[in-house]
Subunit: 179 residues, 2 copies
DNA sequence: TATTCCATGTAAGACGTTACATGATTGA
DNA sequence: TCAATCATGTAACGTCTTACATGGAATA
């Protein structure tokens, strides 16, 4: 149910846009916290409009398909604020690599080391992207407005998450390389 | 599809048991990496048996319901090993609190601080449990067998994950408390 | 000439959650 | 006596993934 809220938050923070643009936003930055396919996003936007939480306007275009521009409504903002005030529990974790790690002794050590190194690189790459965003958009942490602080904290969560994965991969590689 | 592999890994590492016991294992330790309800687990075990990856034996009991004791088969081990060797991608993240953080300026500062403190405590509690397991079961890291190293690394992942959440909560609380 | 971009959608199936159900036994 | 434990299940519903579809415009 929270895809709805992720969409509302994006429309609120980064402004009105089309479903297509939301797909890109999710692919780029929001995917740090919420993953969604275009099928899900388009469908959810239609549902949100039925609820009155977003409104849409069809923009006629020449040379390319028309698009629906979605905006969050006042009702949508109220709904989002109300949801934010509802206590939530940590997301359930379902991490393939941890299951593989539990039973990792079934396969050759080098195979596990390869997988861990591959995984470390994935997180290093994501980390580099996020750090660049941090450097460019938040050069002066002391001078942030309240709204900017929240964006900053979101990026910080992503940075910590990726850095933490890298650190664990390093630890695991070091321990298994002892063999 | 990886719930199947989580079940196989548990039966392999911690030995044969009933669905009921697997539910408990998932509630206690495995939930760090894989969450599952009893309905899912019972159903998946039946499916795994159809595939020939586990075998079951009905244990007649007096004074309490009969139980089905599940064991991983040789075929199941092969399948698990094969899956481990298949490269996998990081789990998609869907984290309510991050969406709330993005749009957190919609609600009073104290409300967000409360939610962050509540959240920090949840992770502190989980962290304490995991650290206790680490202390009791892995007192001497240098002397671990290959199989034990993998268990140790799983616990380490959980510890890092929870500690990382705590650290982020601290950072967020500090930044928002400035107001 | 082939691929990617723009922009949106349907449909089937897998996976997960929530609610409901049973019934004896053990412990507070 | 009330709740929790043991032990397993069905059913309805919601969410997510995967596959398939369209068709012009711009770019390599």
């Amino acid at each position: 149910m929270a895809l709805a809220h992720a969409l509302l938050a994006s429309l609120l923070v980064d402004g009105a846009c089309s479903g297509y643009d939301l797909v890109k936003r999710f692919d780029e930055s929001i995917s740090c916290y919420w993953m969604a396919s275009h099928q899900q996003i388009y469908k959810e936007l239609r549902d949100l409009e039925k609820q009155g939480w977003v409104s849409s306007e069809t923009i006629a275009q020449t040379g390319r398909p028309n698009k629906n521009l979605y905006s969050i409504t006042a009702l949508g903002q109220e709904h989002l604020a109300h949801w934010i005030l509802t206590p939530s529990v940590p997301t359930v974790i379902r991490e393939d690599l941890m299951i593989k790690t539990l039973a990792g002794f079934l396969v050759p050590n080098l195979a596990m080391l390869d997988e861990l190194k591959r995984r470390r690189q994935i997180h290093l790459d994501k980390l580099a992207v996020l750090k660049e965003i941090e450097r460019q958009e938040f050069p002066q942490v002391a001078a942030l407005s309240r709204e900017q602080k929240f964006c900053y904290l979101s990026i910080r969560r992503g940075i910590r998450y990726e850095a933490d994965w890298v650190a664990w991969c390093e630890e695991a590689i070091a321990l298994l390389a002892e063999e």
